[in-house]
Amino acid sequence: MVPIQYYMMLSAALFCIGVFGILTRRNALMFLMSVELMLNAANINLVAFSFQNGNLTGQVFSLFTMALAAAEVAVGIGIILVLYRNFSDVDVTKATTMRW
């Protein structure tokens, strides 16, 4: 059996990649994808721990997470659409009419 630590390292790595993507990418879609990576890192953890702990709670919860992620993307895409309509760009750093 694969030790739980490996799963954790995997998920941590995935999470960090997601964070890195958020910090470096200006494209809203890339931003969204990075968030998905982070959520999936959580899902890996949940499933792995579920297996480790011997209950199904984690697995069930990971299903919910996926569903929510999808919903989130739906809303997100909508917002990105109107962003494009108003700012003619999907660069998240372009929308800076409000600051300070």
Binding site: L46, F49, F61, F64, T65, I79, R85, T97
Partner: protein
């Protein structure tokens, strides 16, 4: 007590949530029957009725059960004094916002969508209040958040609104990912998601997993910090509140913040009891102290020099999040924890009215098209004395002057900090004093503009919208009445807090 799913009593206990959900569906229904000519009055009426019905249901349940915790769905949800108390806040704010939206939305299409999104978010918030498991917490949090994103970006041809929505959404998505990851770590260590079971298994972290658990807990804090607009997850708040339609700002800054706090209260008192956590070396109380300090200071200092009233209120809202965080930061072993939590709850209930009222006043000003800066408010008191009196009440109550309940609830927070009697909480108490003084300064800038300054240009307010006025006046009256009448809530609040602390 083992509750069977779908047992009739269970459904009855969830009546507020269900009523709100049904209201949202009814709104969709109305919209789909007559998408073009749906009247503002009808939609607002339905929303207000639905919210008030939920409010009444919550009250009825509270009276019937006396606030005793009632587990539902195997303990995934719980209905107790705390959840009902916050349901009261959510539904009141929703009703006020819906009432105000009657005028505010008059010119817009998609009124029904607006109302149903509000009600759906409120539904999510009531579920958050009842969540008794990290899973339901996450789901209900998302249920509250997703409609909020859409609401903020509701004015889709307005760059500000869209930008606000984007920022809110992006930070929100990031935060929920952090939150989810934190949940997964906690689940990994304890093997459970339900709060009481998490608490029972916290000890499992003893064998080398403290770090994992600690990181998980702090990430969960992050999720709540986003919802409550606390440092360092507050970044969305100034822009979202400024850019969003004012009623939405009111809704988010009052109800959504309260929702974040109720789930935080429950998680940290039930799932991660302070004594156990501190024994393990996970001093989340300290973390909240730091967050409270930074949040209130940053919020107030940034608010102090704003030119835009709405943005000032947005920052002040961050400041208030910092105040309420004292309720978590003062949950030390030495504190009377019921007092501390209760103080936070009371501040949120008062804040629900006064802050909503203040933002609704902004909505009124936007409705008039007067302008957004302090100077634009000059001489407004002569034009619209009633609304300006109400705004004065809101602002002074926010500043903690005894014209409304905000006075008592703020000093209760100081009291809570003094009660905990550690160096950290005293620092918080004095920080609150300093910040409160600063807030008095910038709130009174608005008051000064309204009453003391002479208008720069010929100011003409355009009409006296009934719905907005009604909402503002109701909020003002309740705010004032909460000064002598806070006792109506204090019993519930302190009992609820006490029963949760055990």
């Amino acid at each position: 007590m083992l509750q069977q799913p779908f047992e009739i009593s269970g459904l009855a206990l969830l009546a507020p949530t269900l009523l709100l959900g049904v209201t949202a569906l009814v709104l969709f229904l109305i919209d789909s029957i007559a998408p073009e000519e749906s009247s503002s009055a009808l939609l607002s009426g339905v929303t207000v009725t639905g919210s008030l019905a939920a409010l009444a249901a919550a009250g009825a349940i509270l009276v019937t059960t006396g606030g005793d915790p009632q587990d539902l769905y195997g303990g995934q949800l719980v209905v107790d004094g705390m959840s009902l108390f916050f349901t009261f806040i959510f539904t009141s704010v929703t009703a006020l916002v819906a009432l105000a939206s009657y005028d505010y939305l008059e010119e817009f299409r998609y009124k029904a969508e607006f109302h149903s999104l509000t009600v759906l978010a409120a539904t999510g918030m009531t579920l958050m209040a009842s969540s008794n498991s990290l899973a339901t917490a996450f789901i209900s949090l998302e249920l509250a958040s997703l409609p909020s994103y859409a609401l903020v970006a509701f004015l889709k041809n307005n760059r500000g609104s869209v930008e606000a929505g984007l920022k809110y959404f992006l930070i929100g998505a990031l935060s929920s990912a952090v939150f989810a990851y934190g949940i997964s770590l906690v689940y990994g260590v304890t093997g459970h998601l339900q709060f009481n079971q998490v608490a029972e298994n916290l000890g499992a972290a003893g064998d080398g997993l403290v770090g994992v658990l600690g990181v998980g807990i702090l990430m969960i804090i992050g999720g709540f910090a986003f919802k409550t607009a606390s440092v360092p997850f507050h970044w969305w708040a100034p822009e979202a509140y400024e850019g969003a339609p004012a009623p939405v700002s009111a809704f988010l800054s009052s109800a959504s913040k309260a929702a974040g706090f109720v789930i935080a209260f429950r998680v940290f008192t039930v799932a991660f009891p302070q004594a156990t956590a501190v024994d393990l070396g996970i001093d989340w109380v300290l973390a909240f102290q730091v967050l409270a300090l930074v949040t209130m200071t940053l919020g107030n200092f940034a608010a102090a020099t704003q030119e835009n009233v709405k943005r000032m209120l947005a920052y002040s809202s961050i400041g208030h999040a910092g105040y309420v965080l004292i309720a978590l930061g003062a949950l030390t072993g030495s504190a009377d924890q019921a007092l501390v939590l209760g103080a936070g709850m009371l501040h949120l209930v008062v804040y629900g009215f006064m802050n909503t009222g203040a933002f609704l006043f902004i909505a009124l000003v936007e409705y008039w098209g007067v302008g957004r800066t302090f100077e634009d408010y000059n001489g407004l008191g002569k034009q619209a004395p009633v609304a300006c009196v109400a705004m004065t009440v809101f602002l002074f109550s926010l500043a903690g002057l005894p014209i409304g309940g905000g006075f008592l609830s703020k000093i209760f927070l100081i009291l809570a900090a003094a009660n905990a009697a550690t160096i950290g909480t005293y620092v918080l108490a004095f920080a609150l004093v300093v910040n409160s003084a600063l807030s008095l300064f910038y709130y009174s800038r608005v008051v000064k503009a309204m009453w003391i300054e002479d208008p720069v240009t010929d100011l003409e307010v355009g009409g006296y919208p009934t719905g907005l006025y009604a909402a503002i006046v109701v909020a003002a009256v309740v705010t004032v009445l909460l000064l002598p009448g806070l006792g109506l809530f204090s019993g519930v609040a302190f009992d609820a807090a006490a029963s949760m602390i055990q």
